[in-house]
């Protein structure tokens, strides 16, 4: 007896093409939904304005000689020097918050839970009968979905910042902040897919998104830039990937021309995408061997 053989006539699957298709499918989906884009941009505008307002008060208090500057981060308003906290003036901090929030708000806060659900209920199996693994195409599809929202928020942030605070502190730095924002969003999605992929081993990981977000809030520099963290915590935060998802675009948009920050983002991105690919590959194998 012999078997009908299909070998030798396999069509060539191009992974870059699959990823590009995944990205454009996601991008077209969101970019055509103008109502959802407007709603997200409005929410972003409210959050950014409130946070910037709080910071303006903090800088003002610090300028009057109390509070915030205890860890050596304080600034001064005397002798014509613009008041600041850790080198951030009120204008710079507005631009920082505008960019940092544009990287964070468009990414669904429960993304880990959303991605882990089809793994936990095994509906991810439909991917197993496809010639490529699910991890990277899923990340790129999400990136395509989220990027238009992030860009809409960034545009809104620029308008808000110019109207409510002033022009960007440094135009070159602002231009660098744009690719940094895109990389930050992609990195954030890739990291959350990696954590979600742990559902292949752990099953229910629905609580993990909360832990992830609290970590990003503090170590990512969302509420406060890393320079304002306690001196023992700042180097820890700088050594971790969370800073590349929020702090980097904020730091650049606030007028600091530091291209090495983008190199750091790229470093973490390569690791995160590799981790997603590995977790989904191993996870698929594990699910296929389950209960053996």
């Amino acid at each position: 007896m012999t078997a009908v053989l299909a070998r030798g006539d396999d069509p060539v699957v191009s992974l870059p093409r699959v990823l590009w298709r995944s990205f454009t499918a996601g991008f077209n989906l969101t970019s055509t939904d103008k109502a959802a884009l407007a709603a997200r941009a409005w929410f972003y505008a409210v959050v950014t304005s409130v946070l910037a307002s709080m910071w303006r008060i903090a800088i003002s208090v610090n300028n009057n000689g109390s509070g915030v500057g205890e860890s050596g981060v304080g600034g001064s308003g005397v002798d014509g020097v613009e008041p600041s906290v850790a080198g951030y003036t009120a204008v710079a901090i507005f631009w920082y918050i505008a960019a940092a929030e544009a990287a964070l708000i468009p990414v669904p806060s429960n993304l880990i839970e959303q991605v882990a659900k089809p793994i936990a209920d095994e509906s991810v199996e439909v991917w197993f009968s496809r010639p490529v693994y699910a991890g990277l195409p899923t990340v790129l599809f999400r990136f395509g979905q989220i990027l238009p929202v992030s860009l809409a928020c960034a545009l809104t942030g620029c308008v808000l910042a110019i109207v409510l605070a002033g022009p960007p502190p440094n135009l070159v730095a602002l231009l660098l902040a744009l690719p940094a924002l895109c990389l930050a969003v992609l990195l954030s999605i890739a990291m959350q897919h990696t954590f979600a992929g742990l559902a292949f081993w752990l099953g229910d990981i629905s609580g993990m998104w909360l832990v992830y977000h609290r970590t990003v809030f503090i170590l990512g520099g969302l509420i406060i830039p890393l320079e304002t963290l306690p001196s023992w915590l700042e180097p820890v935060a700088r050594a971790m990937p969370f800073m590349a998802t929020v702090y980097v675009p904020g730091r650049l948009a606030s007028g600091h021309v530091e291209p090495t920050l983008i190199v750091r983002q790229l470093f973490w991105l390569v690791i995160a995408l590799g981790a997603v690919a590995l977790v989904y590959r191993r996870g698929e194998e594990r699910m296929c061997r389950r209960n053996l």
């Binding site: 078997a3 009908v4 699957v13 298709r21 199996e125 010639p131 490529v132």
Partner: protein, 269 residues
């Protein structure tokens, strides 16, 4: 010339263990050991072979081992023992390579992106299967005509009825021109009219394109109208393997024979 088989299965077995003890459980004085693991044989040493272009119904009661068998044959589940060759591939070891030549449709699981219009899902799936955009367009056009579904492809998926969705699912399954179709309860949830056209469609696909069909279903009419051969599995073992005509009564209806096979196995009078 030796006989060529599309699917060849030899003593394929899948055992699921239940009541597994956690490896991380700490010893504690007074704790009684858990009940020993219970092995459940979902599929128990089945063997059969399917020739190119055959239309085979793989049927059995709930929990008989149908879906487990299909999962092993598509490579998404490793067997405990035994061997299988599907189009010359060992499914669980060469799953990704085999995927380019087979189509699988699970009636209760969608392979389309719920947020996308079907035509956009097809573009993405086509890229995943290595098709050029030109090929995807041509294939979607061709399938749209065969399935009478061209006007559905540009509507949001959520606005389609179950039957219309199933046509889109089938389009997605057939996009890369698979030589072999695995259909796991594809007609579930369809109304009578949709079921009838779906069955005709499968028969046409087989006649016109020579596609081998391996179908599971609880619907006797699916077996009568689509399949030419039926394999009955119960409690993980094959109880019957032969032409549908051998199972039918004088009117060609298979339902009563199937019912008897199922109840015999359960030990009912």
């Amino acid at each position: 010339m030796p006989q060529a088989y599309t699917i060849e299965v030899d003593r394929l077995t899948r055992v699921f263990a239940s009541g597994r003890r956690s490896r991380f459980r700490l010893p504690r004085p007074g704790r009684t050991e858990p009940v020993a693991q219970r092995a459940v044989e979902a599929v128990n040493g089945i063997s059969f072979a399917i020739e190119p272009g055959e239309r085979v119904a793989f049927v059995g009661p709930n929990g008989a081992g149908k879906s487990t068998s299909i999962k092993m044959l598509t490579g998404i589940l490793y067997p405990t023992s035994g061997s299988a060759s599907v189009l010359g591939y060992t499914p669980w070891l060469e799953r990704k390579a085999l995927a380019r030549h087979i189509g699988s449709l699970f009636g209760q699981r969608s392979q389309l992106w719920s947020q996308l219009e079907p035509v956009k899902s097809f573009a993405l799936l086509g890229a995943i299967f290595g098709l050029s955009q030109l090929d995807i367009d041509a294939r979607v056009g061709e399938l749209g005509e065969i399935l009478d579904a061209s006007d559905l492809y540009h509507r949001p998926l959520r606005n389609l009825s179950l039957g219309q969705r199933m046509k889109c699912e089938l389009t997605a399954t057939l996009l890369h021109s698979p030589q072999l179709l695995f259909l796991d309860e594809p007609s579930i949830g369809l109304d009578l009219v949709a079921k009838r056209s779906f069955r005709k469609l499968l028969a046409d696909l087989n006649t016109n394109l020579g596609t081998t069909i391996f179908l599971t279903s609880h619907d006797a009419a699916d077996i009568e109208e689509v399949a030419e051969r039926v394999i009955v599995i119960s409690h993980g073992s094959i109880r019957f393997d032969g032409p549908v005509s051998d199972l039918g009564d004088s009117d060609g209806r298979v339902e009563s024979s199937l019912g008897e096979l199922y109840t015999e196995e359960r030990g009912s009078p």
